[in-house]
């Protein structure tokens, strides 16, 4: 094997330096991307979209076949329940009134106040060090970096980078994610962070020393950050940990969004 010439070494050193500069300059939060990245993703996203659509259709057909027999049996049982449900309807009306009172208390925005854009998940990052998904809506659909993304259950994440027909979403469980939160009962402010070591749970840190929360406490978005509007459900506290001196507590939060099985999400276009 020939020894590399001086010029080869020079080129290799330049490549290494360029790589180091690239890694360092792209290690932080990036909302704007280069032309090369835009072109690559614009080329790839139609194929990702096509494959995902095909997979979803195959899954739906398979599930329909498998569950058909079970659905027939369930149908018989459900018809018997209809009579009983009529009597329970009165109770449901009372629950609805109570729910409206809670909604006012939590200061939930009504869904018709948000302009929501539905999107389908067409890709996920590999390796799984980064919890990022790709959706099939982009610049041409009005999506912009920093827009919050939710599911029917609650907070999913926010838009990071946008191409013409696709966008990447940084999930709340990513270790780079930090969401300003508020405990629903006590109205104390907390910070909700992603942590890859907690097996899909989020870490809750109080923003003041006297903040206390318990298992079962619901955490909503506080609206204080630049990204999420107030009142969106993030999750429920499942574990509370105290430091060795008993001075501060942190918690683990089970997010309401089912991140491993996300198929459809919604981008909030106006906060």
């Amino acid at each position: 094997m020939q020894r590399p010439t001086r010029w080869v070494w020079l080129v290799l050193i330049c490549i290494v330096i360029l790589l180091l500069v690239s890694i360092f300059s792209t290690s932080g939060n990036r909302y704007h991307i280069t032309v090369v990245e835009t072109v690559l993703r614009d080329v790839a996203s139609p194929f990702q979209n096509g494959i995902s659509s095909l997979i979803y259709r195959v899954n739906e057909s398979w599930e329909s076949l498998v569950h058909l027999q079970r659905l027939r049996q369930e149908n018989i049982i459900l018809k018997q329940k209809i009579a009983r449900l009529s009597a329970e309807n009165a109770l449901l009306e009372e629950s609805k009134r109570e729910n409206q009172r809670w909604a006012e208390l939590f200061e939930f925005k009504k869904s018709q106040d948000y302009q929501i854009l539905p999107a389908v998940v067409i890709g996920r990052t590999v390796p799984d060090w980064f919890s990022v998904i790709t959706i099939n809506k982009g610049k041409l659909d009005g999506v912009k970096p920093g827009m919050p993304v939710i599911s029917t259950d609650g907070v999913v994440g926010h838009i990071r980078q946008v191409n013409s027909n696709s966008a990447t979403v940084l999930l709340a469980i990513d270790s780079r994610s930090a969401i300003g939160g508020i405990i629903a009962d006590t109205r104390d402010y907390v910070l909700v962070e992603g942590d890859v070591a907690t097996n899909g749970l989020l870490r809750v840190k109080p923003l003041a020393q006297d903040v206390r929360f318990e298992r079962g406490a619901k955490v909503l978005t506080s609206g204080l950050g630049q990204i999420y509007p107030k009142g969106l459900l993030i999750g429920e506290v499942v574990e509370v940990e105290q430091d060795q001196y008993g001075l501060t507590i942190t918690g683990l939060l089970k997010p309401v969004a089912d991140f491993p099985r996300l198929e459809e999400v919604f981008v909030i276009l106006n906060k």
């Binding site: 790839a44 494959i51 997979i55 890709g123 060090w129 980064f130």
Partner: protein, 171 residues
């Protein structure tokens, strides 16, 4: 022309691993198909070709991901280099060698990624990550790699026939 075809192949593998295999997971992990292309290039055409494809593969993956661009390159270049010095006869004569090679290649690639990433602020717990992501991904990649490596080897045979690749393996 060869580099263009390999680049397209890498993009196709990346699209498959992010769109298709996200629905066909093994222990919550997905295979690293781009790495198997790098492995195939190194085994078929030697260390220099393996390193070149490793560079391309790492860069393309990072450009798609949009963060820490360049961090995937060293691991894949190393895998490409090591694949090139693996004796071809050993690889083809023993069935367990391709599977074991792909398994080790995934661990090397991800290990380098994590170690370098920690220097640039990538906060991922090393041992938890190995157990949770790398080992399952390595198993899955190892299962699929013989097929992809075989395909890449045939591709390089075609390249040599067309005169698009004149380089010889180092061993």
């Amino acid at each position: 022309m060869r580099i263009l075809i390999i680049s397209i192949l890498i993009m196709v593998m990346y699209i498959l691993q992010t769109a298709l295999f996200t629905h066909i997971q093994f222990m919550g992990a997905r295979p690293d198909l781009v790495l198997t292309v790098v492995l195939g290039a190194g085994i078929s055409a030697g260390s220099i070709e393996g390193m070149t494809v490793g560079f391309l593969g790492g860069l393309l993956v990072d450009l798609f991901r949009g963060t820490f661009i360049g961090l995937s390159v060293p691991g894949k270049v190393l895998v490409g280099f090591l694949a090139g010095i693996l004796p071809r006869k050993v690889y083809t004569d023993y069935l367990w060698v391709p599977v074991a090679t792909a398994f080790l290649a995934t661990i090397i690639d991800q290990g380098v990624f994590l170690l370098l990433g920690s220097s640039f602020g990538l906060q991922q717990p090393f041992w938890t990550g190995l157990r949770k992501f790398v080992y399952p991904s390595a198993f899955y990649t190892a299962l699929l790699s013989p097929l992809i490596v075989y395909g890449v080897r045939n591709l390089y045979t075609d390249f040599r026939r067309r005169g698009w690749h004149k380089g010889q393996r180092l061993t």
